[in-house]
Every structure is written in structure tokens, then in C-alpha cells.
Symmetry: C2
Subunit: 268 residues, 2 copies
């Protein structure tokens, strides 16, 4: 049976609310995801929250009832609450009616099976949670296997990154590694490392990319360090006709990922 919580001072509310801070996520190894659609998609990929909070006035919604059922069947806890508490948990003025609290995934690199997909995305020192989430979403769309976060990236389990991923966090594999560790893993199997760079004359549409393709995008402000670029099998750039000579990192990744996908598909 769901329990009811409507007090701000409830210890569980305080604890879950704390998950908006990285420090608490590290301690608890849990993170928040919001919204009925995303929680339902997460469930379809086998991710069941440990806690689910839902607004009392949505308790009769079929999908909410279904989520509550599976959470409880898996030993988790369902909590019926109100909009004020949901606002407090999510930090949003118009919170979703459902919030799930999930165990963090294992992000060890050696858990990745590179043969499972022909595109993988690798982000180096990516700092913006919106970019990270957007790249996960793009990865889902192009059929990528997942995202490897190299060096000091923003936390993929932050509320902002999860929100921007629109559920793709649950469909994409996520790994975290330092650069030497990533390189060693990469070179232990098949894979072409393609870096996006401004310091090359090779147009991104010129090469035929070999699978699995690892698309490497650098930090938003600095781009790829020169010694990282030197390790790539190929450096490519997109044409830029304007004055700024730069693209948003998530945009560049998407344009590149669609090129790789387009080379491998039949246009219907």
C-alpha cells in the first residue's frame, strides 16, 4: 500500500530532495527522474525506481497505477503526495505529477559491449548538463549504443542532465573513464575514433566511417586537447560559413552522428 506524505519535514522528502545535489547523489547512489512518460519508458527498458512519488490527484491514472504496482512488486516504495512536495523535490514551478528515484547505473567502461551498436559517442570534459542530456537523446535517435564520459564531465545523473535527456538516459549505456583508461579500452578491440576538430581540412562528409565508430567531442569552450586529437584515427570538421566558426557541442555531435547513420541506411 502506498504511504501518504504531505509534510515538508518528512525525513524521506528531505533525503530525496537532497539528490538534487551531487554530494548527496554520491552518498546515496540514487538519482531523480521526472514525468509519467519518462518513468514509463524507463520501465519498458527494465528500470524500476526504488521510490515513486505521485500526486494524489493522479493516483487513478492507469499508468501511475501500473508504475506503483511494479515498484511495490520489486520491493520499492510508492508515496502518494501533493504538488507542493513534488515542487520541493523537483525544484520546478510546474512539477511533473510523478517523480521516480532510481539507483545509479554502473558506469564502468568494461561493462560496455561495443559490438552492440555501430555508433558510440564520447564526450571529453563536457560541462553543460543540457548538452549532455541532449547528446543522450541524439544517441537514442541515431541508434547509438551509449555515451562514454571522459575526464571531468558534468554528472549524467544530475536533475538537469536527466531532464534534458528526455528518458534517453535509460536507453543509452553510460560509462565514465579517464582518457588513458578509455584509450586502452578502445584499442583493445575494433573501433574507429573520429574526433571533431577545427584543426583539420577533412570535411565530415568525405570519409566512409568504419563501424563501430566512436565520435569524440571535446569540451564546449576548449574543444579537444591537441594530444587527444593526435590519438584519433580521423579528425573531421563541419563546414562553417559564418563568422563565429563554432557550433554548440551537442549540435555538432548530432550533425556528425546523423552523417554516420546516413552512410549506413537506405533512404525510404
Amino acid at each position: 500500500m502506498p504511504r501518504q506524505i504531505t509534510a515538508f519535514s518528512n525525513p524521506l522528502v528531505k533525503r530525496i530532495r537532497g539528490l538534487r545535489e551531487k554530494r548527496h547523489r554520491r552518498e546515496e547512489r540514487m538519482f531523480l527522474a521526472e514525468g509519467l512518460r519518462i518513468l514509463t519508458e524507463a520501465r519498458e527498458t527494465g528500470h524500476i525506481p526504488r521510490y515513486i512519488f505521485y500526486a494524489a490527484d493522479s493516483a487513478d491514472h492507469r499508468l501511475v497505477r501500473e508504475l506503483v504496482r511494479v515498484v511495490e512488486a520489486k520491493g520499492g516504495e510508492a508515496i502518494e503526495t501533493d504538488r507542493d512536495i513534488l515542487h520541493k523535490l523537483s525544484g520546478k514551478d510546474n512539477p511533473q505529477t510523478v517523480i521516480g528515484v532510481y539507483d545509479e547505473f554502473d558506469t564502468a567502461l568494461d561493462r560496455i559491449d561495443r559490438t552492440a551498436a555501430s555508433i558510440w559517442i564520447v564526450a571529453q570534459s563536457m560541462r553543460d548538463p543540457g548538452n549532455l542530456g541532449t547528446i543522450l537523446r541524439t544517441g537514442d535517435a541515431v541508434g547509438a549504443g551509449g555515451l562514454v564520459l571522459v575526464d571531468d564531465c558534468v554528472d549524467p545523473f544530475s536533475v538537469e542532465a536527466v531532464r534534458a535527456s528526455m528518458g534517453a538516459l535509460f536507453t543509452q549505456r553510460i560509462a565514465q573513464a579517464r582518457w588513458p583508461e578509455f584509450l586502452q579500452w578502445l584499442r583493445s578491440g575494433p573501433g574507429e575514433l573520429v574526433g571533431m576538430s577545427l584543426d583539420t581540412d577533412i570535411d565530415y562528409q568525405a570519409p566512409r566511417y568504419a563501424a563501430p565508430t566512436f565520435l569524440l567531442v571535446g569540451n564546449e569552450a576548449q574543444g579537444l586537447p591537441a594530444d587527444y586529437a593526435a590519438e584519433c584515427d580521423l579528425l573531421v570538421k563541419m563546414p562553417m560559413l559564418g563568422k563565429a566558426d563554432s557550433l554548440n557541442a551537442a549540435v555538432a555531435t548530432a550533425v556528425m552522428a546523423y552523417e554516420v547513420l546516413n552512410q549506413r541506411r537506405h533512404i525510404g
Copy 2:
């Protein structure tokens, strides 16, 4: 001669700080842009700020001196200040050393010369300033002429949108219009209106796009209204292999814009 301001209570500081709110921008018809690189690029496209604030410790920088010179030559005012004031003006913890205050541009639709470029981007009810700025940046990269904001979009002169545009706000034409007004203007001259939609079977790589191409992207959550889609010359979609069946609006716009550009260029 630059004047010096280091008091938070200074009326000009208060007034400029107010430009972070839309209400005050509407009254003053001015907006903020930050950073030496962006202000310098703005200048190269003929945009001189009415006020320029800079940190005293960057007063000797060649580009800062040059900006101060042109601002004063055009009758504007240069203000030497400190990091605390710059923080207060920008709202950022690590503010840029230079902030410019510009007159808002005229965003009347009839100021646009559609023959000046072969790609134009049209956003309908776009709500996220980061998406809007990112699309401006993409527009700059693909050589688009500008961005038409249809219906109730986020303010392109908001600090967040200007920041995300990374200076592209100054290189792209910006217009604002309601849908009927836009349609009437569009149909008064050449132009193919291409809508991005999930409700079509036409792959985005199948058609040959006619110039000038107007790429229409709908609201982040709702997509294009059906009656807007019905007015398009063509509806196309990107392949999406994943579970989410959606892309970030700025990402979809970029993938589409690069396809149009790619059809018209020689790959080097």
C-alpha cells in the same frame, strides 16, 4: 574619458542590471551581451554598444581599448568598473571582463530581404532561450540569413539567449511575427516552407530543397500545430531509431539545416 563606477547603488548599474528582466528590456529597448570576443565580433558586423562596462584590470587590453574608442566615438559611454559590478550586471559567478549594452534591433518582418540567403530558419513558439541561441549559432554556421520567430517565442534579447548564441545574434537577421502575418509575407515572394514533423513518411534526405528554403521547427513540447503543418510545401522527418522518437528542437533544426547546405555545396 571613461567614467568609473564601483558603487552597487549607482543608478546606471541598477538600470542596466534591470535589463536581465524582460519587462525592463521592453521599456528600455536595450539588451546585454557579454565577453570581449562577442563584443568584438558584434563590432565587426557594425553593432556598437551604447554602454560598455569593463573591468579596470582589463583596461589595457588592446581590444578593450579599441572598443572603448569606438563606443565613445559613436556617442556611447564607457564605464570602468570592477568584477563585483560585472557579476551584478551579468548574474554570473565568473563574469566576463566586458559587458556591452545594445539597442534592440528592429525585428519587423518586412525588413528581411529573403534573397540575401538561401536558408532561413523559422521557429514557432520556441520557449527555451538556450535552444533559440543555439539555433542562431547554427544559422550563422550554415550561412542562413536569419531566424523568424513566430507566435510566442522566448525573447531573443534575453541574457540566456544572447549567451547561447555566442555572438550569432549579431550576424543573423531576427524577425518576430504572428503566423498569419508570416504566411502572408512568405507567400508574397519566392520560398519553400519545409516543416519538421513526425507526422510524415518523407525522409529529410529524399527531397531536393528549393532556395530560399524556410525551415520551420515547432514548439519543443508540442511540435507544429496541424494547421501550421498543413501550410507547409513539404513535411519531412529525420530517421529516429530509438525509443524516445524525439530530438531536441535545436538539434533537429541543425541536422536539417546541414542537409540543405550539403545539397548545395561541393565537398572539399
